[in-house]
């Protein structure tokens, strides 16, 4: 007697398109997904615990290791949280450098997300074409900070160093060329008939669901919810720039992807404006802060818009030179919360499409 049977499939942790060491235990009926059980923790390093035995400044490099694709934004969130706790005023020029390097980081992260998404769908060329520009962004970041991925550029009260001579012109050059490159990505990836057939109306996410599950970043905005911290609660000097918040309509994979592409355009706009404005701003890039940082007793929560979503830092101080507790709200981790329901009923190929469209980075998921 013939009968059909559901079976399990270990999707990961060693699988080419889980973007790292992420595992999904799939219950499959043929190629259709009955249930999906995400398993994370393969990259857990205990960053939050490690932070408790480091001084406030020493925590900064650990934040790099979370979302290593947009390290500056991770630095920024932590540093601004501590500054908030201590009430430190950051010099003007440092703020601009933070914006420029932060948006460059966002650009690098989104370029990777765009390219890797093309790879997930099966277009290898899209991946490497995006990497071509990402490489240039990385070179710029390297010139600024001395490091390509783990930047550790932000310091409590400013940034590590001023931009090297001519660096801003190089950034401007790339930013001026960027719109053409983005048009190229749209021609190669976004406009492709098969790409659209694969991603449109796949993994749709209703705005209510997205809000209820506390999703953030492009995943939330693709569902049509206009919530970008840079606009809603401008931190740093984001209120000085003119940019738009790209929104999606259907909340499907395509919208999530396309939101990121359009966010790159906005990042370019922000950087261009920042370069214009920083010309008139001189002065130090580091505020006068004590050698040994001892924030007053108390706690602080500060959140910023990272490349993957809202990253929040909760820092508790007991008055000593080491934080009593650091907790991070990691957008990649929280955005995964709805994965199971999102995957049900779809095919194996869609698992890759949906997971890719959420754009997780395992360093951040597992922390």
């Amino acid at each position: 007697m013939l009968r059909t049977q559901e079976y399990f499939l270990n999707f990961g942790p060693q699988h080419p398109s889980t973007h790292g060491v992420f595992q999904i235990i799939l219950t499959l009926d043929g190629e259709r997904i009955v249930k999906a059980e995400p398993v994370c923790g393969y990259l857990h390093r205990g960053i939050e615990k490690l932070a408790e035995s480091r001084t406030y400044t020493q925590v900064i490099p650990y934040t790099d290791r979370m979302d290593y694709l947009a390290a500056m934004l991770q630095n920024l969130g932590y540093v601004q949280a501590v500054e908030k706790l201590m009430g430190i005023e950051v010099p003007e020029r440092a703020e601009y450098l933070r914006i420029i390097s932060g948006e460059l980081s966002r650009l690098a992260s989104h370029l990777l997300a765009t390219g890797v998404y093309a790879l997930d769908i099966g277009a290898f060329t899209g991946f490497l074409i995006c990497f071509r520009e990402r490489e240039r962004v990385m070179d710029l970041l390297e010139e600024l900070t001395g490091s390509r991925m783990t930047l550790s550029y932000a310091r409590i009260g400013g940034v590590a160093d001023d931009a090297p001579e001519g660096w801003l012109d190089k950034v401007k050059q790339l930013m001026d060329a960027m719109p053409d490159y983005i048009a190229e990505y749209n021609g190669l990836i976004t406009g492709n008939e098969i790409f659209q057939a694969r991603t449109k109306f796949v993994g749709q996410l209703k705005p209510e669901t997205a809000i209820n599950y506390s999703l953030s970043g492009p995943v939330l905005r693709a569902s049509g919810v206009n919530y970008d911290l840079r606009k809603v609660r401008p931190y740093g000097i984001y209120d000085r720039f003119d940019f738009e918040v790209p929104l999606g309509e259907n909340g499907d994979c395509f919208d999530r992807f396309y939101c990121r592409v359009r966010e790159m355009q906005q990042s370019v706009r922000i950087i261009q404006q920042a370069i214009e404005q920083i010309k008139e701003v001189g002065g130090p890039v580091q505020a006068k802060v004590p050698k040994v940082l001892k924030p007053p007793k108390g706690d602080v929560y500060h959140e910023i818009e990272s490349a993957k979503g809202i990253i929040g830092y909760y820092v508790v101080s007991d008055g000593s030179n080491k934080p009593y507790r650091v907790h991070v709200r990691r957008p990649s981790f929280i955005n995964l919360g709805y994965l199971d329901e999102m995957l049900r009923g779809y095919l194996i190929a869609d698992v890759v499409a949906i997971l890719g469209s959420i754009d997780i980075v395992l360093g951040e998921v597992d922390c």
Binding site: H15, I121, G122, L128, I194, F195, R198, I348, A349, V352
Partner: protein, 350 residues
């Protein structure tokens, strides 16, 4: 001289053997053997260099340089790769069906090699000019489904199993539009013999009289060889490598080479059926026929490679939908139009 280079070599061999005083049958057998070995060597070398070509094409499309270290311009890279693969251990999964598992990569080359027997690489350059050449080719190429399935099944891995299920679904579905697409040409020629089909294209290539058939054939053929955008069988971002997942070393390389040999087959077939085979266009007869054949074939292979490095992968339900709802009806319509057109032509008396 160049035109009859290979025929000349064969004749020279015959006369050489004739001078030895051995019986004619043995001489013919030796000539046949030499032909076979020549074709085999040609296929293997070609498959190896097609891998190189693929990597170079991909590299230039992706703003890279590609292999450039081994030999001039990296031309010897395929041999370095093959050398490495031969040296590697063939890992056999513990729960695999060992006999079937090892048989699959050996057998995968059989249909590919058999097919080359009927392909005319130039004027009078087919090993056998069979009167059912096209039918033979289609029948033999369908066999490779079985061997891919064997490999996936015997691996006893879920990813391989899903891959081999896809192989069967995809290859069986696309066989139909492939054959129906070719039918238009065969109706016009009225023969399954390759040389007849090529002879019928002396003035007008069938790509101009049967453009839809060409598109259907080419699309279905790309799907038959599991190439992007129809590379669901491998689908590396979904099911790792499909039926090949558990294979290592030379066993994997056999599948890999067979894929490239198959691309050669489908492009050679498209050349024969639609691009006038070895006929020279614009009366450029001074270039030997076999050079024309290879030029056309490699041009098509180049297109297949460009497709791969441009398009994303289609999904499995879309693949089936496209095959059965678009290609098959289109192919049937093409046959109908061709039939009506032929009758009208006959009525006019052309």
């Amino acid at each position: 001289m160049l035109e009859n280079l290979f025929v000349g070599v064969a004749d020279w061999l015959r006369s050489l053997l004739g001078g030895l005083g051995t019986p004619v049958e043995i001489n013919e057998a030796i000539v046949m053997l030499v032909k076979l070995v020549a074709i085999l060597v040609f296929i293997l070398l070609n498959a190896a260099w097609l891998v190189y070509m693929e990597r170079k094409v991909a590299a230039y499309m992706q703003a890279r340089i590609g292999p450039n270290r081994v030999g001039p311009k990296g031309l010897l890279q395929p041999f370095a790769d093959v050398g490495k693969l031969i040296c590697k251990e063939i890992v056999i999964p513990r729960k695999a069906d060992i006999v079937v598992f090892l048989l699959a990569p050996v057998l995968i080359f059989v249909p590919t090699v058999m097919v080359f027997a009927v392909i005319p690489f130039g004027k009078n350059m087919a090993a056998i000019d069979m009167n059912i050449g096209v039918f033979y080719l289609l029948a033999i190429t369908s066999l490779s489904t079985l061997f891919l399935w064997m490999g996936g099944w015997a691996s006893n891995s879920k990813y391989s199993l899903i891959g081999s299920m896809r192989v069967v679904a995809q290859m069986v579905s696309y066989e139909l539009p492939l054959v129906l697409g070719l039918l238009g040409v065969i109706m016009i020629v009225g023969s399954l013999r390759m040389s007849d089909i090529i002879a019928a294209q002396e003035h007008v290539w069938f790509i101009f009289t049967q453009p839809i058939a060409f598109l259907i054939y080419f699309t279905a053929a790309v799907a038959e060889t599991n190439r992007c955008p129809f590379d669901l069988v491998e689908g590396e971002s979904e099911i790792i490598s499909g039926p090949y997942t558990e294979y290592a070393g030379m066993a994997f390389a056999m599948f890999f080479m067979a894929e490239y040999a198959n691309i050669m087959v489908i492009c050679a077939m498209a050349t024969i059926m639609f691009l006038g085979g070895w006929h020279a266009p614009f009366g450029l007869d001074f270039i030997p026929s076999w050079i024309w054949f290879f030029l056309k074939m490699y041009a098509l292979i180049f297109i297949v490679m460009q497709l791969r490095w441009t398009y994303p992968r289609i999904r499995v339900d879309q693949l089936m939908g496209f095959g059965w709802k678009v290609l098959v009806p289109l192919a049937l319509a093409n046959i109908f139009i061709t039939g009506v057109g032929m009758k009208i032509y006959q009525a006019i008396g052309w």
